[in-house]
């Protein structure tokens, strides 16, 4: 496990068992939806077990993030969201911390994922002079070997791109 802490920014990288297979087999995913999700290179995954809430939730503005990725991904790379249409719900915590959805990404799609996520943060967060607000981002990378790592970033949005660029190298470790 790697753990780096900077002033105003923190990155954590740890091994995880939450790979594509784990998320595709969650009890709230039907067989039909699972078949569709199997083709995705990137999945937005929910948060489970918040307080005593029994159903999965997504951070507020996940709709915007999902739409941004669909608009900017190339034709070869696909993104989907790990939920049934009828069960999609957002959680608004109303803290001054921008909680971006959690993703799982295949290592092949990692470079384009990082580019688009960084652009989203530049355009939608930095551009509206929200630099005082910290962001929280989590993504899981499933390597070709099948092992998965979870990357968590929390800090000022302006540092995100530079720090996360270095993560690209991890996929080959």
């Amino acid at each position: 496990m790697k753990h780096e802490t900077y002033k105003e920014k923190e990155v954590q990288i740890e091994n995880t068992k939450e790979d594509f297979n784990y998320w595709l087999n969650r009890p709230y995913i039907s067989r039909n939806t699972k078949l569709n999700l199997e083709n995705a290179d990137i999945l937005i995954v929910p948060v489970e077990g918040i307080r005593d809430i029994e159903y999965p939730l997504f951070p507020v503005k996940t709709e915007e993030v999902f739409s941004y990725f669909r608009k900017n991904l190339d034709e070869k790379t696909t993104i989907d969201i790990c939920i049934e249409e009828k069960d999609y719900k957002e959680l608004a915590l109303h803290y001054d911390l921008i909680n971006i959805a959690t993703f799982i990404v295949s290592s092949v799609a990692l470079p384009i994922f990082i580019n688009i996520l960084s652009s989203y943060i530049d355009e939608k967060i930095k551009n509206v002079n929200d630099n005082d607000r910290a962001i929280r981002v989590k993504f899981i990378v499933q390597k070709k070997s099948g092992d998965s790592i979870k990357v968590s970033y929390e800090g000022k949005p302006e540092y995100f791109r530079d720090i996360i660029e270095s993560i690209k190298e991890i996929k080959e470790e």
């Binding site: 939920i83 719900k89 608004a92 109303h94 001054d96 551009n127 509206v128 002079n129």
Partner: protein, 284 residues
């Protein structure tokens, strides 16, 4: 009224001298011009008018908030400052608010400065599950995989696209230092009457507002730390909380040192503002 006239007013800062009726007239003129653009499907024209509406809102709100501070309606002013912040952020992707055209950079900077002088440190923060939302442009319920195509924050027919939450569940409330909604300030209430009591100390704002004449006066401040002798805090017992605000006991905190360290604000004001005025506690 034509666009050029409205732009001239917004460039000139005359808004601070306009009556409520005159301002309403400006808003109505913009609304009529926008309707004409929408009528001929000129999306760029309608968007430009939306930007001018936002600028007019920001300028009038800023003047209004300043006047509220002058009349010591601090919480009312605080809420307006938050609205200005929100409207600046709405405007920013469509119009550069970081230059001083229409004084937007000035207003953004001063709103932040004024906010930092308020004594509010803790806020309520609601926690809500949003079950269903609809688009304000087309009215369609949002489907995560098949969206309506209207993007939040974009301008369509001179209106900004937002999501309206139609089904929600309130799950809790927290006390936070950095809220999303700054208006949720906790106040005490009088146990006898049940009326809200504003228990906050607004002396920093009060002192500054003694000097400022216009919302567009230039000013700044420098925050430092200053040590005060223990003789100033004789009324505070050794076992009481330290006056520095650390939360520790006085005897375990500043009483061990030469004095009590407190934040100290130095207001920086241009000389003409100070001529013939009582400065009070303000240090130049």
């Amino acid at each position: 009224m034509v666009i050029e006239e409205i732009e001239k007013i917004l460039h000139s800062l005359k808004i601070k001298d306009h009556s409520k009726d005159k301002i309403n007239e400006l808003f109505n003129s913009l609304k009529s011009i926008k309707a004409e653009y929408v009528g001929r499907n000129d999306q760029d024209g309608a968007k430009k008018i939306w930007c001018l509406e936002q600028i007019l809102k920001i300028q009038t709100d800023y003047v209004h908030a300043f006047n509220l501070l002058k009349t010591k309606k601090y919480y009312e002013a605080w809420k307006i400052f938050e609205q200005i912040e929100i409207n600046l952020n709405f405007l920013n992707p469509h119009f550069n608010t970081n230059n001083d055209e229409y004084f937007l950079k000035f207003i953004r900077t001063k709103v932040k400065k004024f906010q930092s002088l308020f004594p509010y440190k803790l806020f309520f923060s609601p926690e809500i599950i949003e079950h269903e939302k609809k688009c304000n442009i087309c009215g369609k319920i949002i489907s995560i995989r098949n969206p309506c195509g209207h993007e939040v924050g974009e301008i369509y027919n001179g209106e900004m696209c937002i999501r309206i939450v139609t089904k929600a569940e309130f799950i809790g409330i927290s006390l936070v230092e950095s809220p999303l909604q700054k208006y949720s300030v906790p106040f005490m209430s009088d146990p006898k009457t049940g009326k809200t009591v504003d228990h906050y100390n607004y002396s920093l704002l009060e002192n500054l507002l003694k000097i400022l004449k216009s919302p567009f006066d230039e000013w700044d401040y420098k925050k430092t730390q200053k040590m005060y002798p223990h003789s100033k805090f004789k009324h505070i017992g050794r076992n009481e909380k330290c006056p520095c605000g650390s939360g520790k006991k006085y005897k375990q905190c500043c009483l061990k040192r030469e004095g009590v360290t407190l934040p100290h604000y130095e207001f920086l004001l241009p000389e003409p503002l100070l001529k013939g005025r009582t400065i009070g506690d303000i240090i130049i």
